[in-house]
Subunit: 230 residues, 2 copies
């Protein structure tokens, strides 16, 4: 197909496609004349992946280039290719080994992963990301022992094993697998986050309606009030 059709099928404007070609995110088409190139289904699939990384994963172009290089480099095995996409999605966190709170938190994270028997690379940036969150929680006076975190880990593992991972086509084309991974992490992750906030409102309603510590009936009227709807 020509670039105009590629644009129509993908919904990506021609100037944007040309930008991806220049940036090397999209492989060049088959040049059939000086001004004309042919594109195929692989280009269409690649465009979908770029859009998923850009719009869904909100990755910077440099990170997308890294992910695409891993998809294209057949010497990089399937698991490492997924790892590259996976790590590109995490927020880089500087380690602070000079800070005792940080060291303790990082040790807690490593010990918990080991105790759970999870297969996570020792250099996975996600370890630092979790350590930083633990430090922040601890400084806010919230419970952060391994016992406090394990139920979250176990719920996360159930969700991944029963739902997310079943959606990834491990035996399909490399770029489809990466695309699905990004969608699962970012979009089902977002869906879960919103569902959690909906459940929090619901539980809060339930608790405040049944426990005696709730406010008196007069002030309840404001529950249907305008400040919520603003």
């Amino acid at each position: 197909m020509r670039i105009s059709q590629l644009s129509a099928e993908s919904g990506v404007p021609i100037p944007t496609i040309k930008y991806y070609l220049r940036e090397g995110l999209l492989p060049q088409g088959d040049q059939t004349s000086a001004t004309r190139a042919e594109y195929d289904q692989e280009h269409l699939r690649r465009l979908r992946l770029i859009r998923a990384l850009l719009e869904v994963g909100r990755l910077p172009v440099a990170a997308i280039r890294q992910v695409i290089a891993a998809v294209d480099d057949e010497r990089i095995d399937f698991h490492d290719m997924l790892g590259t996409a996976h790590y590109a999605l995490s927020t880089p966190v500087e380690p602070h080994p000079e800070d005792e709170d940080w060291r303790e938190a990082r040790e807690l994270v490593d010990r918990m992963i080991a105790d759970l028997g999870w297969g996570v690379h020792p250099l996975a940036p996600t370890r630092n990301e979790l350590a930083q969150t633990v430090v922040t929680l601890k400084r806010l006076g919230m419970p952060t022992s391994q016992e406090d975190l394990l139920p979250y880990a176990s719920a996360a593992h159930d969700l991944v094993r029963d739902l997310d991972i079943t959606k990834i086509p491990f035996d399909g084309p490399r770029d489809v697998a990466v695309e699905t991974l990004v969608i699962c992490e970012v979009l089902y992750g977002k869906a879960f986050d919103v569902l959690r906030r909906l459940a929090q409102e619901s539980e809060s309603t339930r608790i405040l309606d049944v426990t005696p510590c709730s406010d008196d009936d007069a002030s309840r009227v404001t529950r249907q009030g305008a400040h919520r709807d603003a």
Copy 2:
């Protein structure tokens, strides 16, 4: 205590405290002379709340002002006060009732919440947030029926009921409850998200090590390779 001690105890610099006082986020201290004011534990607690909303919740100052107004206005009941903080944390999403996909997604969200028996305000902005995520997933060809989403909803509900909600002191001071709500939503939410990504790496490792579709042993060597560590 004087402003210098308030600063020392809270770790918030004096100019920042003065800014919060000017913006009305922090109530004025007790003026003991023309150049001197006294602050108490309530100011300290309020400073902690502002920092949690600002640094943890990443809320804009205007949204923080709204939350603080709800905390201070005793006519607003406990549940609505939490709702104000709760809704301030969500990403505002424009409804698109003219778009059929959007209408369908919103109907799905409303039906699911009703079927689950969740107590969620009909005008909760979280409903639109979930509808938008569903539309995006659907357009990417991912499964989004109620049956597909229910397991996520049920996992979210378990997490909230067993973990998040137990941390909120419903019978404590209003600002402590709001602070805990924000911390639970944002920080335990972040911890869960990172744990989910760690579990995904672990499950991907497990599946690729046992299924025959994994790459050959030669390319496996790169698993320990430099591209991961970059």
